[in-house]
Chain length 269, copies 2
């Protein structure tokens, strides 16, 4: 664990990350001493910091800290948090503030191998995401909706919950992005009003472009999700999981998901 | 500053308050060694903790810590934060967790005296609050909307910004609750889809009941706000401020606001 370049696992109670969730984060997979797709994560970090008006730490600085971390922890789930730092009392962002940079490493979760090939059981969450265009897409620290949604079930057999928004669009998993395969094309939810646009989502979108697979980014109703030929979720820790069960619906074949997964894993190497 | 009963100003980077904004807070005014309306704040804390499924710390414990704090800091703005504490990786709330209790004290802000009597200049924020019924009313740590709204202006002469929601209802100030006076009745926005229901809002509502002043809690349009006979905002630090200016509109007389303020101040003592 590293806080502002020093070994440590503590931050100030006056950090705006705690006070207001005023910060952003990334979750990376470290494998064999490499942080997978770090340049893509850094691009997202830059984008998210800019959206909130937080000064994004320099790539060279973060890369150096990351490399030191990887020397000690070649494999694991790496979390990077950048907050706006400390400031005077009150919501208004201070004119000048020094961002707080936090690194943490955890062991990779031990998911059953066949979830990636045979698919997972998923459920539909009751909580509906609110719409906030100024925060949509950003991996920020205001994650109470995800906390409440993930708290809706405790059956360890159910690997993910899907989230709809208040307007009835299906948006994502609680910690993953969603893709549907329908009539030879990929569809992924529009995230301009809620949700988090993850690195793996971008990688699937890039895969579609490269492989001339039609892809649509748009609103998707629950009905359309349930009628999809395949469904899969992605994030940097789980990789890609097809859905074999969602509420009362079942799927058994995932030819496109398997193809995407294979390609993602090849380019992980 | 006190963290889990010990002098200190640091918390773990694995605290869910930082990771997800998974916690609630209160802001109290300390005056002459007393924390004003502490019982009302504790009731709100209990309610907000229950809404998020956080075990609310015991009243006796918090009261003892607060009294120790007041011995050292008889006057000031006291912040109490209760987070869900630490847990395993992931959004789902742990089955058992020990809440983190944080106390902090700051000097009271030095506002011009005449803001309470002659009113403040306020503006209308561009940011629209998202609607999330499961978080509405709660003083939780997901406050990025307030941060972005408060960052919209830096004219120190403008004391508060009013927030509308995505549906066009006026909801509150960035850090205060709003009341309108219209045709002999008080109106305050319905906070069942967004906003924070503060202690001073409850006190004004109680004042209306006691003084047989009709009061409505309902949606209010911007048009109705701009046509109101009086407008005022309340919170525990500022007390009550009438609005003398909002965008291009001006008000000069605040008879009801003055009456409410006097009553609130008398019962502060």
């Amino acid at each position: 664990m590293l806080v502002n370049g020093k070994q440590g696992n503590l931050i100030s109670i006056r950090d705006r990350g705690l006070l207001y969730g005023d910060g952003v984060f990334r979750t990376l997979r470290a494998s064999g001493g490499h942080a997978l797709h770090w340049p893509l994560h850094y691009q997202k970090l830059q984008h998210d910091c800019a959206s909130l008006g937080i000064a994004c730490p320099d790539l060279a600085l973060l890369s150096a800290e990351l490399n030191n971390l990887l020397d000690l922890h070649p494999d694991g789930a790496i979390k990077l948090i950048v907050t706006r730092g400390q400031g005077m009392r009150g919501y208004a962002p201070p004119a000048r503030s020094e961002p707080t940079i936090i690194w943490d490493v955890s062991p990779l979760p031990d998911y059953p191998d066949d979830w990636a090939t045979s698919g997972i059981r998923a459920r539909l969450c009751q909580l509906r995401l609110g719409q906030q265009q100024h925060l949509a897409g950003i991996k920020h620290l205001n994650r109470l909706e995800n906390v409440l949604a993930a708290g809706e079930w405790n059956d360890a057999d159910i690997a993910e919950g899907l989230l709809m928004d208040v307007a009835g669009n299906v948006i994502s998993g609680t910690r993953s992005n969603l893709f549907a395969v329908s009539q030879g094309k990929l569809i992924t939810p529009d995230l301009s009003r809620c949700g988090v646009a993850g690195v793996q989502r971008d990688r699937v979108i890039a895969w579609a472009a490269k492989n001339s697979m039609p892809l649509q980014i748009r609103d998707i109703s629950l009905d359309e999700v349930l009628r999809a030929g395949e469904l899969f979720v992605v994030n940097s820790i789980i990789g890609l999981w097809p859905l074999r069960e969602l509420e009362q619906n079942h799927w058994t074949d995932f030819p496109i998901a398997a193809q995407v997964r294979q390609s993602l894993e090849e380019t992980d190497a």
